[in-house]
Amino acid sequence: MPKRVLLGLLLACGLTAPTLAQEPKTGGVINAVIQPEPPGLMLAMVQNGPVQMVSGNIFEGLLRYSPKLEPQPELAESWSVSEDAKTYTFKLRKGVTWHDGKPFTAADVLFSVEMLKQTHARARNNLAQVDKVEAPDDYTVVFTLKQPFGPFLGIFEVGSMPMVPKHLYEGTDWKTNPYNNAPVGTGPFMFREWQKGSFIRLVKNPNYHEKGKPYLDEIYWQIIPDAAARSVAYETGKVDVLPGGSVENFDVPRLSKLKDTCVTGAGWEFFSPLAWLWLNNRQGPLADKRVRQAIMYAIDRDFAKDVIWNGLGKVATGPSASTIKYYTDDVKKYPYDPAKAKALLKEAGYKGEKIRLLPLAYGETWQRWGEAVKQNLQDVGMNIETIATDVAGGNQKIGDWDYDIAFTYLYQYGDPALGVGRNYISSAIAKGQMFNNVEGYSNPEIDKLFADGAVATPDSKRKEIYEKAQKILVEDVPVAWMLELQFPTIMRCKVKNLITTGIGVNDGFKDAWLDK
């Protein structure tokens, strides 16, 4: 379970406590911040964070996920798995229509799968184990796998596999399809208007397939480029919801203390963002395991959590966030211990070679973190030079392996086979790309463990494999794990039931209502 307590404020707010006592009220308009402005809204084509946040309420996936990442019905009302764990049969909900009135059927699912394989890199990976997809009738879809794939039921989230209207996309050039700018989904809200640089307006879908939902009439996603201005917009009442990451961390305590304000760290369980330092295993002092271990001992991660992240999040113990399946903390521990770090550096024969540090150009918090880590490493005698760069330049340097240490954070998608393995297996070493094994760690044993883990059955077997992999990785320190990040959502307490799933605001407006 993620630690959801933020400075003890949550307890007073009761957001995670059930609000069953109250009957949802219909009507009302919500203003939420979206940061940064999304590059588009067609979820099948672009999947940046803000796109998922807005479009997750326009589109839907076959399944939805609880905060514990258990699959729940969405467009599929039920599903079954065959004995040999290779055939998954989904029964689709009847009476679902697209926003333009056309019915949603199994043909749309088949089309979406084909389209996503070409437009959505992660979906392509997730679907790699699928042998064929068939539709025996309009409301049944059968996925047949090449071999059993443990995390299969975890790939149907709306951002990972959004359903696309076949009748609007088939036979067109997807990139230039006019519906990319006015997306048509099956979700609780319909796209109405996008004033670039100002706001995106969604309105209630009156024909939504769950009767009575959604409760809200409209959502305005306000686009406010400056972090301080976003805080002020909340204070002055212009917006009611600040999704995670939309204000700077040091503003969180101040905003949390405002009247009628509720804060929660929930709603990120599916993503479980984990921050770490890429360590270039290929060259220089960092090729030595002892130097990498020294880095783990040298960095005061509790300080980073308490000061830079204002107490939000959790110190990471290894490659998996604690919310990910098969997580174990029964691994080697790296407490803050500068003396030990110095000893390890000495043992490794480090002689003050220059080491380049690339901070993440995502704003103040990350810059301060870069400065703190640099100081930590200098304190144990490492010669660190910070390289200033922008987001694109940093991505390029990391992708080209032109760095020694670099900050990053990645989503983990609930299962080690979906979000963890990709950063450590040697087949994921590909120059020029981000978010794979850019540290260049290569260990046949780890390769084998992740390959076996993905297809092993039953669950207990997978657990055993992944726990072993975690132990080996934490001993080897291919990257330096820092924090399980937590992005608090700040909102007025009158906004109820916004965060009920593992992806929070991204598909939360379906259940949200305003207590007027």
Binding site: R254, Q375, A388
Partner: protein, 279 residues
């Protein structure tokens, strides 16, 4: 020389400016000896208000770093950038201006069009672009500040040389067969120098401001602490912790003011008519 110091010390603004500059330079030179610790070190709890602990008299910033230590180390970077980039600008600008003024004609045209090319681009925008392209570091910052500040020097020197060029003693030097370099270096430049010196003192002030603005925008050298960086980093928390921004801001204000006062004092002292009349 004696005359110069006399008139310099007679003008109150010059004296005040000199005092400020001497103070700032000695802080930059000797301050770090009093604070052997790196200004990046986290020494106390974050957001400690000023005047609460004698160890950190001006409080701490968002990471618990000593604001006072930051200001002392920042003085070094700010003054260094100001002085070095002005020096570089003079090294580029004076010869160009002198050649343009002395040779005239096509040389003048070519050099002045080249100068105007730089003058037409807003200097701060150009500096930002240059630093962004070259990757922020102390070298790229000095280079870009120098590159945007030499054109006024060139134009000023050209104007002075143009007028001195026609003086009898210069023409006499030409007639006696002195080489062009000799004439420029020995006859003309020394007499054209006083307005350049005044301009240079103001350029140092401008360069400090430019460096601060670049650092404020996050384009400073990430390995060096400077006043502009401190203001920029503290800006976002100004509502919680005013002192992180205010103290380095005041340091920038005072040192720029000091340099401007010196400029004024120099102007008075180096202007022969003004100084002889004794004001």
């Amino acid at each position: 020389m004696k005359q110069f110091w006399k008139s310099m010390l007679r003008s109150p603004s010059g004296v005040i400016g000199l005092i400020i500059l001497v103070l700032a330079i000695s802080v930059a030179l000797f301050g770090p000896m009093l604070f052997p610790n790196s200004p990046w070190r986290m020494v106390q709890r974050p957001f400690l208000p000023p005047f609460t602990l004698s160890a950190v008299p001006l409080g701490t910033d968002a990471l618990g770093r000593d604001v006072f230590a930051g200001m002392i180390f920042g003085a070094r970077v700010s003054l260094l950038v100001g002085l070095v980039s002005t020096l570089v600008a003079l090294i580029v600008g004076v010869p160009i201006g002198a050649m343009a003024g002395y040779f005239g004609g096509r040389v003048d045209d070519a050099l002045m069009r080249f100068t105007e090319f730089f003058q037409t681009i807003p200097s701060f925008a150009l500096a930002i672009v240059l630093v962004a392209i070259l990757q922020p570091s102390i070298y790229s910052i000095v280079t870009s500040i120098a590159l945007v500040s030499w054109p006024p020097v060139a134009r000023l020197v050209r104007g002075e040389v143009l007028s001195l060029r026609t003086r009898e003693y210069v023409q006499a030097a030409v007639v006696t067969g002195q080489s062009n370099t000799w004439i420029i270096m020995r006859e003309i430049l020394p007499n054209a120098l006083s307005p350049v010196i005044v301009l240079a003192s103001l350029m140092v002030a401008t360069a400090i401001l430019l460096e601060s603005s670049l650092s404020f925008l996050g384009l400073g050298d990430p390995n060096l602490i400077s006043w502009g960086y401190m203001v920029g980093a503290g800006r976002t928390v100004i509502r919680q912790a005013w002192w992180i921004t205010v103290f380095p801001g005041v340091a920038i204000l005072i040192s720029v003011l000091g340099l401007n006062l010196i400029g004024e004092g120099l102007n008075d002292a180096l202007n022969p008519r003004l100084s002889r009349e004794g004001r």
